[in-house]
Amino acid sequence: MSDIIIHSSGFPWLTAVVFLPLAGAVLLFFVKDAAVRWTALAVALADLALSLPLAFLYDRSATGMQFAERVSWIVSPPINYAVGVDGISLPLLLLTTFLTPLCVLVSWRAIETRLREFMATMLVMATAMLGVFVALDFILFYVFWEAMLIPMYLLIGVWGGPNRLYAAVKFFLYTLAGSVLLFIAILVLFFQGGHTFDILLLSKAEYSQSLQNWLFWAFFIAFAVKVPMFPFHTWLPDAHVEAPTAGSVFLASVLLKMGAYGFLRFTLPMLPDATVAFTPIMVGLSLIAILYGAYMALAQADLKKLIAYSSVSHMGFVTLGIFALNAQGIEGALMQMINHGITTGALFLCVGIIYERTHSRMIADNFGLANPMPRYATCLVIFTLSSLGLPGTNSFVGEFLILIGTFLWNKVAATVASLGVILAAAYLLWMVQRVAFGPPAGHSASRLFDLDWREMAILMPLIILVFWIGFFPNPLLTVMHTSVDQLIEEEDLEDRAAARKEMVDGQWIMVYGEDKPQEGYPGSLLTINHEPSAISHDDASSI
């Protein structure tokens, strides 16, 4: 590991941050009933407090992994307990520790049965998610990756809505099916990449084009289900609708980021040639997701489904940015991941708050809330505006960078993606117009009391972040710069993309260049036409 840079520090920060919630979950079974909520909250807050120093101790100018730890776990095959963070995983780690206390708080009264088990499940969930972001060993990663499914399955299946079993099983099987291919890919990499599970070493190794192509689709299925990319998205609305609020928040804010994180951590560095080759398909699917998700959101009558489909649209921007393969696109995608976590998480919290009062998630049952609940309406409007990417809020930063990155690479793709921005305004403002404004609903006013202190404490930090990131995105962006630049440079992503573009110039998706105008596209279209059939084939067999 000569040229892999790892900075370790004396204190095992990451181990502490990752496993503190797990320890807290165990602790929960030894406290009195009355203390369960407060203990869970204290654990979540302690974890947040423990993770905050990472933001300040993190060296923004250093390349490579920081706060790294490595202990041998199994000698043969060589599996290590290896963890570390860089500019790509650190923001996601902080997002997770930040959201955990909010999820505990929102479940304060909403969960009435098996509260102790619920809180423990949430804390286990936190450990699993944090583990995914810090793991530097592929087997360790896979353990955390699969471990996430169990608490999530329980959150939906035990504490969910009326149709919870269908949703839970669908969620579990769908994502599990994707993960199986990931595991096979990991094994192939082990044998082809020098008998190691070290993610950094595997990223250094070179693989043949044909092997890369196979691995690419194996990774793709696993990650695309998680994102979720079109057409693997149908588990998401079901899962969201049935999940309790805290489950929806974890699902939308963190779980969906796993797929995108997978693309950034594995697909791009390990399979650069395949990435470049399949970029047009990835971009095409992202564009479909952006527009299709937006249209779906327009047709929904259920608030949670509406937000779930808006997630499909927003995550389309993330994958679009990643496969723009330049600094603006990737950093924009990372920003969008964080911002989607904040904003969509907040929107689900808002739905949860209103569900506690009216016991309905239907838009038709919840209208005119601004009158009885002015504070609530204010928060809802703020998060809605953030979600539709209003400049001055967090989401604009990510979307803008993604559009710049995409536009530099391909103008048509950026133009199509921009249409999604109009549609977002349409479905979100229409939703807000019905829910918040208009004449007050016929609910008994006593049920529609405005936000209390606990609920304000949940939403205020998110509002602050919405505007803080919107006006001062640079501190967050500088965390990403070194790692993203390193990713692009080490893998020559931009050069490879340019070379590829030269090679298949004239392809339908390429638009602009200084070089010769093409004669027409039929010949070159063939080069990529193999792939769409390959996807449809893969997806049929994977389900």
Binding site: T234, Q328, P391, G392, F396, I404, V421, L429
Partner: protein, 632 residues
């Protein structure tokens, strides 16, 4: 002087009111009004400093960096900015004062002040932007304020629909703006005005193949494309055809907002954008023509619709659409200074007219239909006389501010080639319509017999002094703005276009005389129809029924959009959801699960639990294996 305080003071007022409005309540004006007035005083100082030839950039902070991209927010002040600062702060100050009286007792008093302070801040930041991204950020921010304020009375469904409509129509325009911004970054490698303007002449010849992705070839000038995309944004904000539909509906908002946002300042942002981008537009004759023709179309359309409306605010709103058309046409013909000059004078007299409408509306307990007005001139003399001054300025009556600025547009247009001559003629014709509809409004509302609801007729009276004061000041400005030497002040800010012909030539005098005549004829016709023989308009309306309906129903543009865009969108969404998502995609997912379950149940048949079956299976298997061995 440090210019930061001009936008920061209203922002501070917004923050205080936004966070503590709940406790401040009825004292909200004590926070907002002083902040905006001080901002106005600072703008006057700025104006004087800039007149001395200064222009400055004050860096604020680095907003974002990524790859090669780096965006610094800063404040830029030059002559154009100085004029806009003056307009924004003075109208905003007067509207703040007027609001004290107009919104007294409203549940959302503090909220209203918070929003108009936020609007003032955003608009100031917009005109002080020194790069395209900052322009875009505050461009959207003023749109947001407009959305929030149109929907101020959120319990009225019509107000909410109008707010949503305004935002979405503007988003459609901003889609173009955003693409223009991306294309600028790709072409110039920077989003800063100066970098872009300096490089623009060198790139004037660069072309862009629009049909490249489809294998065709259609070369367009890159600069033209940039200009047209940016103009899409301007069309949304400045309510140009065909994106004008939101502005009249925006009248659902409280009247002070109509005056500040939907007449004097925000809607002029599109005109400001074109003027600010003059160094780019000047290099693209094709884009200029599009701007000029769109402006002229808007000018005519707005005026023809204003002729037949009955809601007094909507008449003034349609007149705004028409006047924005004048400004846009001037910019498109290269007469930027004339366009901005008219923007300024229009800001004064249109704010006056709206606030005048507001006084009437309050006096009549929120009545807006002029068929239930009339005879108000003796009961509300201040409102009446200031309203007449405003209408005279709008009609281009000699020696009012509107006369000078409109005249300058027409004279400059006339000297701008054959297209200019055609559009100038349209402008003259529209001047007739303008004079007619503005005095129709005056005569029907203030003159003649009272048709006011008898319940209210007794207590119709002049509003409080916080409301009449701004009216008087604006009336003075509607005349005085013509004598401040604004065009000469602005001239150096724009590239010389050649279309600014000499204003003392015989042709110029001819146009001036003709425009004056048009105005007088318009007023005379209105007097004849609505004072002398008030039964005639109805007869005319019946006789020209189709034309009347076309005008009264706003050329059916809303209906066309509803059928062609809105409903198909929702239908498509619904069909995609039920037809594709539920049936095909999720159907496939559940189908796979069902197939596996079915396969499993088939396999289960084999597991019969009877020894004979297993024995039979083993025997058959053994035979098969043996056979294969023997055959191979």
């Amino acid at each position: 002087m440090s210019y930061e305080f001009i936008p920061l003071l209203p922002f501070a007022a917004f923050l205080i009111l936004g966070l503590f409005g709940h406790w401040i309540k009825d004292r909200a004006h004590l926070v907002a009004v002083p902040a905006v007035i001080v901002s106005f005083i600072l703008s006057v100082i700025t104006f004087i400093e800039v007149a001395g030839g200064r222009h400055t950039t004050i860096p604020l902070y680095t907003w974002a960096t990524s790859g090669e991209l780096s965006i610094e927010l800063s404040l830029y002040v030059d002559r154009l900015t100085a004029v806009m600062l003056l307009l924004v702060t003075i109208v905003s100050s007067l509207v703040h004062v007027y609001t004290i009286g107009y919104m007294r007792g409203d549940r959302g008093y503090a909220r209203f002040f918070a929003y108009i302070a936020l609007f003032t801040f955003s608009m100031l930041m917009l005109v002080m932007a020194d790069n395209f991204l900052q322009l875009f950020i505050f461009w959207e921010a003023v749109g947001l304020c407009s959305y929030l304020l149109i929907g101020h009375w959120y319990e009225r469904p019509s107000a909410c629909s109008a707010a949503t409509k305004a935002f979405i129509v503007n988003r459609i325009g901003d889609f173009g703006f955003l693409l223009g911004l991306l294309l600028i970054y790709l072409t110039f490698g920077s989003l800063e005005y100066r970098q872009v303007f300096v490089q623009a002449p060198d790139l004037a010849q660069e072309t862009f193949n629009l049909l490249r992705p489809f294998g065709g070839q259609w070369e367009v000038s890159t600069l033209t494309l940039i200009c047209l995309l940016l103009f899409m944004g301007a069309m949304g904000k400045s309510a140009q055809v065909p994106l004008h539909v939101w502005l009249p509906d925006a009248m659902e908002g409280p009247t002070p907002i109509s005056a500040l946002i939907h007449a004097a300042t925000m809607v002029t942002a599109g005109v400001f954008l074109v003027a600010r981008m003059a160094p780019l537009y000047s290099l693209s004759p094709a884009a200029m023509d599009v701007v000029a023709i769109t402006g002229a179309a808007t000018m005519v359309l707005g005026a023809t619709i204003a002729l037949t409306q009955f809601d007094i605010k909507r008449i003034v709103a349609w007149s705004t659409v028409s006047q924005l058309g004048y400004m846009m046409m001037a910019c498109g013909l290269g007469a930027y200074a004339a366009g901005i000059y008219h923007l300024l004078t229009h800001g004064a007299f249109k704010a006056l007219l709206f606030l005048g409408c507001g006084s009437v509306i309050i006096a009549l307990h929120h009545e807006q239909d002029m068929r239930r007005m009339g005879g108000l001139k003796d009961k509300m003399p201040v409102t009446h006389w200031t309203f007449v001054v405003g209408s005279l300025a709008l009609a281009g009556f000699p020696l009012t501010a509107g006369f000078f600025s409109k005249d300058q547009i027409l004279v400059s247009a006339w000297s701008a080639g054959s297209l200019g001559k055609l559009l100038a003629s349209l402008g003259l014709a529209t001047a007739l319509l303008t004079a007619f509809y503005s005095f129709r409004l005056v005569f029907v509302t203030f003159w003649g017999d009272s048709r006011v609801d008898p319940r209210h007729v007794g207590h119709v009276h002049e509003p409080s002094r916080t409301m009449t004061g701004p009216l008087l000041i604006l009336a003075v400005l509607s005349i005085a703005a013509g004598y401040l030497g604004i065009p000469g002040f602005l001239e150096p800010a724009f590239p010389a276009s050649g279309s600014e012909g000499p204003h003392d030539s015989p042709t110029a005098f001819g146009i001036m005389a003709l425009a004056t005549l048009m105005g007088l004829v318009g007023i005379a016709v209105a007097y004849f129809l609505y004072v002398k023989s008030p039964s005639l308009p109805d007869r005319l309306a019946r006789q020209w029924q189709q034309l009347y309906h076309l005008s009264y129903n706003k050329w059916y543009v809303d209906e066309v959009y509803d059928r062609a865009v809105v409903r198909p969108t929702f239908q498509l969404a619904d069909r995609l959801w039920n037809g594709v998502d539920v049936a095909v995609i999720d159907g496939a997912v559940n189908g796979v699960a069902r197939t596996i379950a079915w396969g499993g149940s088939l396999m289960r048949l084999i597991q019969s639990g009877q020894t004979q079956h297993y024995a039979l299976g083993m025997t058959v298997g053994a035979v098969l294996i043996l056979t294969m061995y023997l055959l191979m």
